[in-house]
Symmetry: C2
Subunit: 297 residues, 2 copies
Amino acid sequence: MEHTDLKTKIEEYCVYIENALEKCIPEQEALPPDVYEAMRYSLLAGGKRLRPMLVLAACEAMGGKREEALPFACAIEMIHTYSLIHDDLPAMDNDDYRRGRPTNHKVYGEAMAILAGDGLLHHAMETMAAACVKAPSAERAEAMRAIAHGAGIYGMLAGQAADVALEGKSLDVKTLDYIHLNKTAAMIRGALEAGALLGGAEAETVKGFGLAGQNIGLAFQIIDDILDVTSTTEELGKPVHSDEKNQKTTYVTLFGVEEARRIAGRLSMQAVNFWKGQGESCAFLLALTEYLTDRTY
Amino acid sequence: MEHTDLKTKIEEYCVYIENALEKCIPEQEALPPDVYEAMRYSLLAGGKRLRPMLVLAACEAMGGKREEALPFACAIEMIHTYSLIHDDLPAMDNDDYRRGRPTNHKVYGEAMAILAGDGLLHHAMETMAAACVKAPSAERAEAMRAIAHGAGIYGMLAGQAADVALEGKSLDVKTLDYIHLNKTAAMIRGALEAGALLGGAEAETVKGFGLAGQNIGLAFQIIDDILDVTSTTEELGKPVHSDEKNQKTTYVTLFGVEEARRIAGRLSMQAVNFWKGQGESCAFLLALTEYLTDRTY
């Protein structure tokens, strides 16, 4: 896939996703507008929309319709957004900026930020449950579980908790992998599994999509660590050098920038090879994977 | 139903629920034990187990098996527990004790308490999704949605957010009803709807169960407000007079203890009449409703 085609396709997915997210949370109710406004503030703050894009693209790659996957795509972005809101809280990373704007608690206060995060997680659950009610099927139930599992206490939440529990401690690569695999990769895995399931993929293929997602997710996190060192606040839209400030062990502190890049490249290549094996239907996922890995150079 | 029979039945449900909750969250993983321990600390701290009991009892009343409803019962108790953990946080009600023990953040710190709450909500979602995967059906999907809806941004979360947003303000009865209906009653409604659905009830009956749940929930919240004034910390296992301390408008401040009791009694009676109309199968739900309302005297 040509670079311009990739860019066009990404842009097209983003517009589609933004439109859907815009309708996810009501603009206001009788009482209280605050929490809906706080939810919308973070949900509609832009971002790469990578996770929902993977849900939609995986579904389409397997021959499904993107409309079918849309509630699940919105749900995973709501979960991702909630995790950022809670992650930024004073009791956690205590970050003031996110995506170039003040963080949720800086605008709405701590109590409302906690509730806005909770609300997004609640609404992800309700949105997927409603999609399962609308057209009950084993595939939809499995897609919901894949996302819930990737996000949950054996996935993202476990990684986040380990990250918090081990803050300031020097980590070995095994522990760091545990954190990255759970905190970041599990949701990317869940996104691709869910999309493949909704597209009607066989169990074996779903597994392959999941593994590719895990490799992409790990590469993605390593690249985030690299960018934290090599980038500027303006480029990233969030504070850089935060890992150094928080004395975090990362792939960069363990292996240096160059070796970290090579490791991310190898992980990316494993995913790329899987997409190649799937043929033309996965051309976008292949190009997207390469594009995501290229952003470190 | 005789009082001793009711007590025996409640006790039996509680044992059944406690056993299941004990198995919900792993005792430990390689990394990090903290968040699982924090989740278990609050989930296994006792409590009335009212919501899961209603799920099971409603399912059985409609001719279903309690095992079928168990994952949904556990999920609703996990959601209830998460809401208490977050509610107690310093940024929210800042409570030091809950069920006679130090609150979650007092033991595990604020960051871990936020994550333990998040984890319980995550795991409620995953537990229900897994139940839907195990035996996909419209009823299970609808039960999941009923619980998600009762807990979510049009239910409990909205009530909690209004409560926080309007803290310290003097409220009229309409606003207070909005808070109570959402914060407390919506989950009780969701519990009874989910149970009825899992037991195979018709749509009209599910609606009736839901309305009964709403009346019980509102009565229950009014009674909580009354007990905050008339009870002691030892009796309740949590601090009393917290509403007065926080200058909260309640049914007691609006109507006085006696009139608040009468209103709760009327709401309870509406539910009781519905159970009576359902006949012998709802005898336990009837007796339970009367028992819950009697606790103010």
